[in-house]
């Protein structure tokens, strides 16, 4: 046997050969693509990191407004000026929440994972207690954020930034979930009245843009309510977002329900299970499992759509960003602001997407 290592049998070499350079055309495309990736990523990395300003500019001065940004001082400088994010970081995360009370928001952010982990992972030790906490969390969270009973009241008009985005996104999705299951089951019900109500609700909400719903909730809802009842602005947006999401999620779940063979219900019934027992133990677990990809799809869609609330005067993450861009002290720093906002949205949406893949894998029970 030859002792020299044959280069042609190296597995990386053969992989490249088979996949990247299998023909002349393929080889040229590969080289062009590598060049393109290099150009784009080197530009982006230089802009975001290597040539960028963070706290201080290239002269070492602390940046307090846009005139200190390197690119506004020296014509040759192109890097991003992240100081706008750093200086206004409080606003991006908390909105106009008083600085001295921000610990309350931090505490809620910190507790949120503990509230969600019980729903998301069923093999957790002491899961029962995490679930108890999940049900307590809305009350704790509301008390901490809004205040009262010892804590200073911070009205929702002062909430903003990521706080509003997460509040609408997370609460909207969690409230819409049970509602959407009821709607999906109702739409398949044999009882004509319930069925009709569900169809009308779903079709009406789906047939209307979210912006319209937000306007309706914001402007028209007070007209229908008795004099003096003025529901909170944020709460109105939450109602609109929840209804919107529940209609979409209901349709995703209905798709799953339709995919369950009739024999499943028949088998459950022949064993003596009631409609609700069959639905809860047999039909829904299977239907929801099939519906994970479309459900997560609507959740991601909704999370991003929460940015629309800026048109009814709420300052979510995007709203705060736009306010930052409009500030004369920091004008013309759009790119930095929008890249930062995109990154924050991306982290949450990508997280949801990964979680759905994890769920699909975990719930797989056949050999395929």
């Amino acid at each position: 046997m030859s002792s020299s290592i044959s280069f042609t049998h190296n597995k990386y070499y053969s992989w490249c050969r088979n996949n990247l350079f299998s023909s002349w055309i393929n080889g040229i495309i590969t080289i062009l693509s590598i060049y393109f990736i290099y150009e784009v990523s080197s530009f982006f990395l230089n802009w975001t990191i290597f040539e960028a300003d963070f706290v201080n500019n290239f002269r070492g001065e602390k940046i307090t407004d846009r005139t200190f940004c390197s690119k506004n001082i020296e014509p040759g400088q192109h890097g991003a000026c992240w100081a706008i994010i750093i200086v206004r970081f409080h606003q991006f995360i908390y909105g106009f929440y008083p600085v001295e009370e921000a610990w309350r928001v931090n505490l809620v952010y910190g507790l949120l994972p503990f509230a969600l982990v019980g729903i998301f992972f069923d093999n957790l030790p002491f899961r029962k207690y995490f679930i108890y906490f999940t049900f307590l969390f809305p009350f704790i969270g509301y008390f901490l954020l809004y205040g009262g009973a010892g804590l200073d009241v911070v009205g929702t008009s002062k909430w903003g930034g990521l706080l509003v985005t997460l509040f609408l996104g997370v609460t909207g999705i969690l409230l819409a979930f049970p509602l959407s299951i009821i709607l999906a089951l109702g739409r398949r019900s044999k009882m004509p009245v319930i069925k009709t109500i569900c169809i009308i609700f779903i079709e009406f909400i789906r047939g209307v843009p979210l912006i319209t719903l937000l306007f309706t909730a914001n402007v028209m809802l007070p007209l229908f309510l008795p004099e003096g009842v003025r529901p909170d602005n944020l709460l109105r947006a939450l109602v609109a977002v929840t209804l919107f999401q529940s209609a979409y999620m209901a349709e995703a779940i209905r798709g799953g329900l339709q995919a369950i063979p009739k024999g499943q219900l028949e088998a459950a019934q022949s064993l003596g299970l009631t409609y609700w027992q069959s639905t809860r133990k047999i039909i829904l677990p299977q239907a929801l499992k099939i519906s994970i990809p479309p459900i997560v799809n609507t959740c991601i869609g909704l999370f991003k759509d929460t940015s629309l609330v800026l048109i009814i005067g709420l300052f979510d993450l995007l709203g705060v960003g736009r306010a930052a861009v409009a500030d004369i002290d920091w004008a013309k720093l759009h790119y930095e602001v929008y890249v930062f906002i995109s990154l924050v949205f991306f982290i949450f949406c990508f997280g949801m997407s990964r979680y759905s893949l994890y769920l699909e894998k975990k719930l797989k029970t056949d050999n395929s």
Partner: protein, 246 residues
């Protein structure tokens, strides 16, 4: 005196305009084994599915254990607790392990403690000879094993009547025997059984009564001896010649 457990009197059923069951009269005694055969579309499955109200009949009377089947949900629940059913397509719950498939109904319908229900589930799995598969999911079993689990799942509710709707029709030939063996064992233990099947060997071994159905009617009802050796109607003769001589 023998006790009547199922009675059908002048049962009629329609799917829209299609008349599926025509004036069905049938009475089943406790411990009786009845095998029902007939060409497809003859209404055999529909008839046994009416007995546990998976299908509703429109005319006539069905009485199980002295309880008449009507729209009254209480009666339906009561009857379903005592009537087990095995389906052609097994209809196991794919998201639950074999053990959970079997213990589900005892836990939720009979409100049995989980541990006790699982012990019962294991005992029935031993009865159908696959206790080693308890932790697997249905998708990991062969067709024959799945159908045996389905039988164990029905038995775990301790029914006194078992309905079998073509239990071996979806199985590969080499798996049919393992399922039929379980059914024969069940018959020997005195279970009341209504079996829709074309397994004539099984019918000869087990049946007390043979029923031949065609176009929604019971054409012939006889003991297996008479049925196979001396069928009365021409339609039965034709059917038997077709399935016995292929």
């Amino acid at each position: 005196m023998t006790e009547q457990v199922i009675q059908l009197e002048k049962v009629n059923k329609w799917y829209d305009d299609f008349h599926v069951l025509k004036d069905i009269d049938l009475s089943v005694d406790k411990g009786q084994k009845i095998v029902i055969c007939g060409p497809s579309g003859s209404g055999k499955s529909t008839m046994i599915r009416c007995i546990n109200r998976l299908e509703a009949h429109q005319e006539g009377k069905i009485v199980v254990h002295g309880t008449e089947l009507t729209n009254d949900l209480k009666n339906i629940d009561l009857i379903r607790k005592n009537v087990g059913m095995v389906f052609q397509q097994f209809n196991l719950f794919p998201h639950l392990s074999v053990l959970d498939n079997i213990s589900l109904a005892p836990i939720w319908v009979k409100k049995m403690p989980k541990k006790e229900a699982e012990e019962i589930a294991m005992s029935y799995l031993e009865k159908v000879k696959i206790p080693e598969q308890a932790e697997k999911f249905p998708g990991q079993l062969s067709g024959g094993q799945q159908q045996r689990v389905a039988i164990a799942r029905s038995l775990a509710m301790n029914p006194d009547i078992m309905l079998f709707d073509e239990p071996t029709s979806a199985l590969d030939p080499e798996m049919i025997k393992e399922v039929l063996d379980v059914m024969i064992q069940l018959a020997e233990e005195g279970m009341t059984m209504l079996v829709v099947t074309h397994e004539m060997g099984f019918a000869k071994t087990v049946a007390d009564q043979m029923i031949f159905m065609d176009e929604g009617r019971i054409v012939e009802q006889a003991t297996p001896d008479e049925f196979f050796n001396n069928p009365k109607s021409d339609r039965t003769k034709l059917f038997l010649s077709q399935i016995l001589n292929h």
